[in-house]
Each structure stands twice: as C-alpha cells, then as structure tokens.
Amino acid sequence: MKPARFDYIRAETLADAHAALAQDGNDARVIAGGQTLLPMLSMRLARPKVLVDIMHLPQLRQITAEDNAIRVGAGVRQAKLLAWPDLAARQPLLAAAMPWIGHAQIRSRGTVCGSVAHADPSAEIPLVLVALGGAIELSSRRKRRRVAADDFFAGMMSTTRQATELIEAVIVPTRRPGHGYAFREFARRHGDFAIVACAAVAAPDGIRLAIGGVADRPTGRDLGNLDGGALDDALDAFAWDLDARDDLHATARYRRELVRSLGRATIAEAQQCRA
C-alpha cells in the first residue's frame, strides 16, 4: 500500500506542465488534489514514472463567470467551489450535487477537474456535466480544444483526453430561466460512492435525466415531455439500456429499480423547482 517510485515535477508555468506531458506522455500523470490519484498510486493501480503537480499555477485556480457558463480551473478545489457565493444562483444542480462528493475532509483537497479526469462512473461532477451539456477544456503544447462532456467520458475511468493533454478547466452551463434542476443519490452511507445518482433538468421543451453509478460512464437521456405511465415506461427502458451489473454493493435489478424510482423522484423535484 505504498506508491511505486516516480519522479515529481512541480510545474511553475503552464508551459512546464505541457512540456512534461509532451515528453513523458503516458508515463506521466497530472496530480492536483490527489484525492483519487493517491489511492490509485498506493494500490499500484497506477504506476506512472512522473507526476506533474499543477497546484502551483495561479492561473488554474480561477472560477470565472462567463456569459452562459462557469469556468472552473484545474487548480480549484471542490471546497472552494462549494464555498463560492454565486454557485447556487448560477447553477443549482452543481450546488446540489457537490456536497455528495466524498467527505468534507476529501473536498478540502480534491479538485473539480480531478474528479473529471478520474472519470469514475459514479462520480457526481461528471454526471452534472453530462446532464447540463457541459464541456472539458483541454490544452497541450500544440493546441487547445473543448470537448463536450458526452464525448469526453469514454468508459470506466477512461476519457478521450490524449496523453499529452492537460485538463485546464471544466465549463458548466449556468441556470437558464424556466428550467428546474434536481439531484438525488443513493449510497449505503453518505460519502460512499453512489449506487445510483440522478441529475434531472426540467426544461420547457422537455426533461433530461442523467444517471451515474450504473453504466460504465455517466449517461444522459432526453425524455421529452412524457408523464404518467409513458414516463415510467421510458424510465424502465432507460434503466435496461444502462446495462447494470451485479457487484458487491448492489444487484443489477436493484440498480434498475433505483433508476426507475429515484429517477422519477428527481424528475418530479426538478419540475417543482421549475414551477
């Protein structure tokens, strides 16, 4: 339970970080808060040759309110975003989801972008990004690009980030007038990984529900303006399509039932918030 050996680079500029990733690529891992990477290192599930620490770059520590989005830099700790006074007004879904991340003692160090980089299928921030149609801003020595969250999460702890790319920020769309938002999660204990997590957006032109903890990545579906039995049927189809598996936390059947019941409750709450 001790990490294997690695070199440690303390990047002092963004160019430093890009250069290290360009040089070491797949052998390098970026470390920010370390709250997901350190367990991976200690259990030797990850054995990078080089760690690139990006927490000494002031330009990555910014939370910026853009026109229709919040841009959260890669150095922003979860506790800092939770304490950002504008959070609930600008994006209630993110404000509702963030207290579910780990524990206060984890959020104090863990970063928003770190959770996105780790891409755990039950993690809250990736789920919120998929529900809202957010994006991930990647940069390398050569180029900079924005990838839609739906295209970024590729599977279990896997993303479409290239080895030379740094996640520089995530882009979270802000609340829109006439939209309602809700987040619910079920786990055995608060702070545990979600068995099922639901994020719902009720828009004038229909409902969008995103589910975490079931498929190998957070998955969103537009459900139109269904209600009653038709909505139950659509949720049932969604639950089956997520291809739930049995594991030691819950059976596949139990997860499907949570998608149906917790999903329905989350949608109802989002619709109430809209009204």
Partner: protein, 168 residues
Amino acid sequence: MPRLSADTRHLVRLVVNGRAVEAHAEPRMLLTDFLRHELGMTGTHVGCEHGVCGACTVDIDGVPARACLTLAVQADGATIRTVEGLAPEAGRLSVLQDAFRRHHALQCGFCTAGILMSLDHYLRIHPTPTEPDLRNFLGGHLCRCTGYVPILAAALDAAKRLREASHA
C-alpha cells in the same frame, strides 16, 4: 522547473504545530509516513491508507484533510496541525479531548486522532452544531469500537463548554 528524482530523498519543510521542521522524503512518501517516520510524530495514525477511514486526518493549511492522500513533497511549505498540537500544554487536555475522556468516546483509540482533528476544526467554524450536522461530518471517519454515540455526545458537550468559555 523543479524535477525531484524518484530515487533521491528531497528536503521537505513544514510548520507542524507552530514549529518549523524539516526532513527528507522520496517523492513517493506519503505525508502520514513523513510525520511518523521522519518527524517521529506518531500521534497521526495510518488506517486504510486510501482515504476511507479518516484515522490519518490532520489539518493542512487550515483545513482537515487526509495525510495518507497527500505526498510529503506536495505539502512542502504547508502549515500542518496534528493531534500532538491539540493539548494547550503538557499534561492538560483540550476541551474536546477532555470531553472524549469523560464520555468514553474512544476505546482502542486508533481512529481518535483523526476524529479529534476533524472535530476541532468543525467546532471552531460551527460553535453551535446540531447532532445531524455532526453525524454528517463524522461520516468521514470510521470507528469500530464506540458505535459513534459517545463521540457525538462528547462533541456536543465540548461545543457547549467552548461556547460557555467564550462567553465567560
């Protein structure tokens, strides 16, 4: 840019419990092991070593965090507070520690250092905590002896005494 080689031990400087200290660490050394093995401060306990149990919780730059999820080299320059820093003087317990003793809020004591560090921070920010708040906050710690009830009782009692002391 500084690149610390894997095979070499590097100087790490910290302020621990108000005292400037320094020792050497390989890049892969966890802050838990640095505190215990290099600085000899064994009050911080090592439980699960992957951030779940909370035994190693210390205060890093003013906030409770897992020492096992922090590399010593990451913490270079940080201000750390550990359980050794809670007692106001040798032979005298802090209000919170004393409440733990009176309420039997520990048996084996393995988890206690981490819980004390979390609660010490929490009670400073939330002088009037409710029991549900405390339960939620204590979710970040595992205790296999007490069943948590005496820990909650001790925390509520300590909060009350701290409030009384601040009004006195």
